[in-house]
Symmetry: C2
Subunit: 333 residues, 2 copies
Amino acid sequence: MTKESRRISALMTLPAAEPDSYFEETAPPRTLSDLEDKVAKFIQIHRLIPGRKVVLVTSGGTTVPLETQTVRFLDNFSAGTRGATSAEYFLAAGYAVIFFHRQFSLQPYSRHYSHSTNCFLDFMDVNESGDLTVNHKYTSKMKQVLMQYRKAKEESLLLMINFTTVREYLFGLRSITRIMAPLRHNAMFYLAAAVSDFFIPENKMVEHKIQSSGGGLSLELEQVPKIIRPLVKEWAPEGFIISFKLETDPSLLSEKATKSLNTYGHQVVIGNILTTRKRIVTLFFRPEDAPGPLDIVMSDEELKQEQEIEMKIIPELVHCHDAWITKSQAFSN
Amino acid sequence: MTKESRRISALMTLPAAEPDSYFEETAPPRTLSDLEDKVAKFIQIHRLIPGRKVVLVTSGGTTVPLETQTVRFLDNFSAGTRGATSAEYFLAAGYAVIFFHRQFSLQPYSRHYSHSTNCFLDFMDVNESGDLTVNHKYTSKMKQVLMQYRKAKEESLLLMINFTTVREYLFGLRSITRIMAPLRHNAMFYLAAAVSDFFIPENKMVEHKIQSSGGGLSLELEQVPKIIRPLVKEWAPEGFIISFKLETDPSLLSEKATKSLNTYGHQVVIGNILTTRKRIVTLFFRPEDAPGPLDIVMSDEELKQEQEIEMKIIPELVHCHDAWITKSQAFSN
């Protein structure tokens, strides 16, 4: 393989592709129709329940494969904590939840026992009758989690759909939001996934594992289309849409969040900084909805008690969503 | 931020850095001395047991951060199945195991219940006395797994150490192999981790999240030093060393595996192809050790019964390791 063919080239100075041309030029993932069937069935159930609100929670990072037969990929840092935790609080607030998440990232309920330093086998005992039981120390909390998990399952309140690549994410997001659109104002979109800003178009990808024998590696990536624009304008124009801004440099946050609201015209941007995201987030609103941003902060005491900031974020958003539903109904009467 | 400063540049045509200069120019991870303490204690226990063999199993993919405050990273595809499964078979064969793995990748024993489509909460029941028990359908297998897990724990046969970045992997590998070196021929090194071939040196990394407002992204990465050379020659020259070659193009495998053995002079290369790696692997040996490579193949019947190819790989390697210990002892007498 020559050095030239190892060079994955792209048109460096082009702006982000238009979403329309992205979807035209990219093959849809094989699993898309299966996803659409599942989501359509789920929405059919919940549309029939008066006042039922449905939220799409996206969670975890997307991957950008560097080879068609993928050995290497770019990824975005995210264990999926924000999304998985938020999904639980939305369920507690009476929402039906579509949890669109990175495969193997944290999930609602099971998150309490995965990605932890304790293996769940450490919780298990064998009793006199030879049954496997959970050690009494852990029973009470695990029983509570199990009950919530079962309720969500039995009442069909939680639909789990996963993605790995940014392509699966983008196609999946378009399908899910379009299928949710008939819910009108009762639909909420909570876009917590860490989506790649850059990708390698399929036609510029090499097939086989990139060989390392010829020196370094030069990668040229293109910008991922800004999908929030068609989401707001076309796919679910009546939905209540919350996007996230994660930054590492605090001085950029407010400007970028405000710019995003101005550009796309959706309802809320949740701003957070990588190192403090479990302690403080800022909700940014459109000028017509609120006079200024709202800080949501956890006290040291609350953090010490292992309380989670989502217990404050979600009720705040539910409140905004309800106010917005009321306003929309008044408007259409 | 200008486009120029977003361009993470590197010296494209340089060959891989020498391992020595990599370790000189790179700051060691903060957790390294903790890792060294744990490994030293573990080795101290097992050195005292006559004939005790110890294997280092590396597992999972390493990450290459693109920013100091990491939002994005390059990764290598690996759930850690090969490493986690192999560790169980080494334990069953009487080895003590240091399991040096990517954080949150599959682990021995718990792997049977994580990364699965079933949430482990699906296995749980609440009995009449309010205890949490495992549903009888799953008890027998889970009890078996639990017993093996407990035995490994109680007899201090399994040491779990994790890494995330390629830097943590390289420094950790050097420390662990050096601490294991006094075990001489009783030490085995089973290098199943998917280690990045490319990285961005610390002094060329940007601090903050790369902004996407200015178009595409151009990345220039340098080659990761070939660490197996000092491992074989300096860190653990008397150890029994097995490396892996994963390719997607079958036509490259034999040549690359043979070249690796010739270049580094270690004992075994296990070659596998991405799409068939659970069905067939090929063991390549040095000409003085065996007349040719050995294919290890799973039949359709065995795969249907969910048997794992590691059940054949590990006994084969144990056999080679034993033969090699005997030979070395004869030689030193």
